[in-house]
Symmetry: D2
Subunit: 318 residues, 4 copies
């Protein structure tokens, strides 16, 4: 039996796990991400891998990180949370992590995990949408992660949905992730609270009576309790999710969309309106098969599991 | 030397050609498309192929048609111009056109031609945008036409660019092809003429003094003469083209966009504003390589050449 | 009994009538408008007035014209259909039409007629919306026509309803009259025909099989027959009408909106969705009286009747 | 010499002043507004008036309040900050404040003050835009406050500027005051901080390092220091202000727009882009006189001064 190690580098914490051939996580180590310090981050990665390898025979290591990974799977071009800019991460780690080592975009890794072990199993084309603070995207075509020409494909969250729409961190306006993401959820709720403290009363209460500190989890909790304002915000966000999926389906014609990430825990609050909008807005509906829209199955460990499995696959091929 | 025959089924005419291994068309036959009559269309296809085969040894035949071709490359799911609905076209033609025979979406065929012989030669990922009445899309990934899960991928013209925007023939609103296509060009000019016959004077004149009969070629001619109103319409359309390309680049990260079709003859009138908007609107600009935007090189025969070459490739593999 | 003469200068014809104190038209003369020739137009006006005066004792004359009439009610600042630019029309006509003479904006005249004799009778504030090719607006406040500081008030049709919306003849984009007017009606129908000849089949047929020559009356006829596409166009236009009325009500708080002009003949096709949208979109609904929305009662003679009555009122006061 | 008392009921404080015939405030009293308690608010009003009357011979009293005052100038239909709903305020106060007493909308009162003593002096039609948390509107036509049919006119802030735009406290979407007001200023800055803490760094610092607590004054201070992000927010808000003014000018044709309220202290930061957009977007520019756009001169006491002067005028007429 061949084990592999996956490491997920997030904005706030590093999670590493030993993963078997069925995608099961056998052991884990966690660290806080050391701010924007490149060397300290590399130290932490090396440390958790060394610890896990002391307990398991896991030759291949896959590292998943938010940001743009070059097509060589060795260089981080840019990372929004971390200080890497054109960083040769694989080389920097090679002497401390001997053996097969790859760097992977975290949303690509999550898409791979869902393709191999989750909601996209066996599908010819899987598009995975990870709803976190923003939108992460990944695609698996005929059993291969799609990376584009330069390694930076599947940034679906930065497709323009609304011309001259809301300002995005990427410098553009109207990006999809400004309308369907954890950040959008919290912002819509705060905007409602700003114009109607009455309508947003329950969410304001859950936010400790400070309307400006309403967060995504606050909206989710209020919606689950049946708060009409929170439900309406989810309904609206679900529709934006469906609009984007319909555009993606026009271009990519996948067999299945897998919706993952923290927001996907809201599940049917989000997916019902998303499916309705998608089906009502799919070009050529009635003359073509319609892609399924499924909730991701691997939860928060999808990135870690996918990175490990991609590393194992890479090791077998080399 | 191996020859192949490509047949391009358009809304108004059928063009068939014998194509060599370098993409050169050696011989051609043309017919008018017999309206919406399925049998008569099939007769015309069989007839031109038989005539060309009487003059050349061309074993493989590829047929390119607008519409949705199933992943089996044998069945037409739907065609906007012709009466085919779930039509098993390959089987219907097999006894009259013996030998290797494939059916292909015309924009896919054109994309393949540009990849093999034109502006996308050798690129790892080529996205081809064919600007005709609407927008046709095709993509070649690592030397293979991308077809999606069900054969109907790359309908980029039906990505939503403007929520609740202009009504499209597909039943949705705001599709990209309602803002960047020959149809959009003529419509914008007619709308201008409707509100200001002064501003649109030259285009009205070129349309035989009937503002409602301004066509795409009229706008192109006026723009080439330097008419300010026609130039502004091209500028605006070029910007919409660039917006759509920027969204595609976010998702697909190609090495090159190839812009073909009748409108591409307008060339820099359209491509200059498109490139500017694309480069200004690409997410992550500054941290990633930027795809090239090129004019197609194969002209109106791209579909025919691509269909023939795909048929030859198919024949070699089977 | 005091009679007065009203003259309505339209883009295509001149209508003059003798009007009694109850707004009844006793006698009429009609001429074709002599194109854009200022002198010939003045000749025609003088001629019809002279003819009517030969038959009736009607001392006061009111002339209603599309365009901007200065606050002195003597000068035409600008007329869209005619060649008047800063034209001292009253002086030019004074020696040929002796006696009290005023020039009035045609939509102001129509508003006055509806206030005195029609659907706005006795109301403290009447806003009149005249739906022709564009939108004409007039307002009567406490028994006086509202003219603004410079005589050019009530151009409601050029309030912006849609930022960066459809191009208007006035040079701006998104003006109300680009969404609710005879021109908008025909354009929407032609646009539909352009993308779906199937959906627009009945209107195309009524237009003599030339989709580009669908007119407002064609859409109205098709809608009356129950054609779903024409009905949807009216529904959509009615909603735009209601949106604009809601914005006007926020600013002007009238007692009644009177909807006149050619399009108002479509009546409930237009007014039902307009009323629904207005009532659903009125700010402060529930805490304030809601203005009525009524169809005009004076029909195509409203402008003429109003011009005559305003001239009589003016003569009495001087 | 005749004095009058004006009382301005704000959301947080009550200000009362003795005003002479030249609009000069001779004496003042202030109280905190007693929350949403109707009786306590009435007590506070009676108390300040009684105190001022003990020191001055001021027979007429005008009370200005945010909200909808019926045309009788005696009843508060609705107030957003206070608990009045269909409240007969004049009758409730009459026995405690003997003598001439009127209730007036605060923005109407401010418009009157600017007409009588400020930037709109002597103009035939004055439109006053008060930029506070929202937008207050008032209009003076030929020396009379315009009230509409039911007393609730000039709610310009609730004209729709953006169809399906931002949610407003009034229940609609896209109201002007959601794009040009103190609330909009703070919200835009917080939104920027939410997507780019780098761009909004100075404003975040001024807000005590809590991006969600950026306020209007914070943005104003940063803009005065030259902070590019704050300047861009003012530029954008100024353009929205200009768009709304252009629509108002189309309908109302005033001689002058007077821009008052707290935001007007930002002065040229706001008025330069507003004037540019207004002049560039005015329908018929070139063929008509263009209204002036001026900063209000009476500052925060405009409402109080206007209410007092309207009461004096009312007393003289009765």
């Amino acid at each position: 039996m061949s084990l592999a190690i996956g490491v997920d580098i997030g904005g706030t914490k590093i999670a590493a796990g030993v993963v078997d051939e069925n995608g099961v996580v056998l052991d884990m180590e966690r660290r806080l991400t050391p701010g924007r310090d490149v060397r300290a981050t590399e130290d932490a990665i090396a440390e958790v891998v060394t610890l896990l390898r002391a307990r398991h025979d896991a030759p291949a290591v896959g590292i998943g990180a938010a940001g743009w990974i070059a097509a060589d799977r060795a260089t981080v071009l840019f990372s929004p949370h971390l200080a890497w800019r054109d960083e040769p991460l694989r080389d920097a780690l090679a002497h401390r992590i001997p053996g097969p080592l790859i760097i992977e975009n975290d949303a690509n890794a999550a898409a791979w995990a869902e393709y191999k072990f989750g909601a996209g199993q066996g599908a010819s084309v899987v598009v995975c949408i990870t709803l976190g603070t923003g939108i992460g995207g990944g695609m698996v075509i005929n059993g291969e992660v799609y990376r584009g020409a330069y390694g930076v494909a599947c940034e679906f969250g930065h497709m323009t949905l609304v011309p001259d729409g809301r300002r995005c961190a990427c410098g553009n306006r109207g990006c999809w992730e400004m309308y369907a993401s954890g950040r959008a959820l919290a912002r819509d709720a705060r905007e409602l609270a700003d114009v109607s403290s009455l309508a947003a009363a329950r969410m304001i209460e859950l936010a400790g009576d400070d309307p400006m500190h309403i967060t995504g989890p606050v909206v989710t909790q209020a919606a689950r309790e049946g708060d009409p304002a929170a439900l309406e915000i989810f309904e609206s966000m679900g529709r934006w999710l469906g609009h984007g999926i319909a555009s993606l389906a026009a271009g990519l014609d996948p067999e299945v969309f897998v919706i993952g990430g923290g927001l996907s825990e809201a599940d049917e609050l989000l997916l019902r309106p998303a499916r309705e909008t998608f089906r009502g807005g799919l070009t050529g509906r009635g003359f073509r098969p319609v892609a399924r829209v499924e909730v991701a199955r691997l939860g928060p460990q999808a990135g870690l599991v996918g990175a490990a499995d991609l590393a194992r696959t890479f090791a077998l091929a080399h």
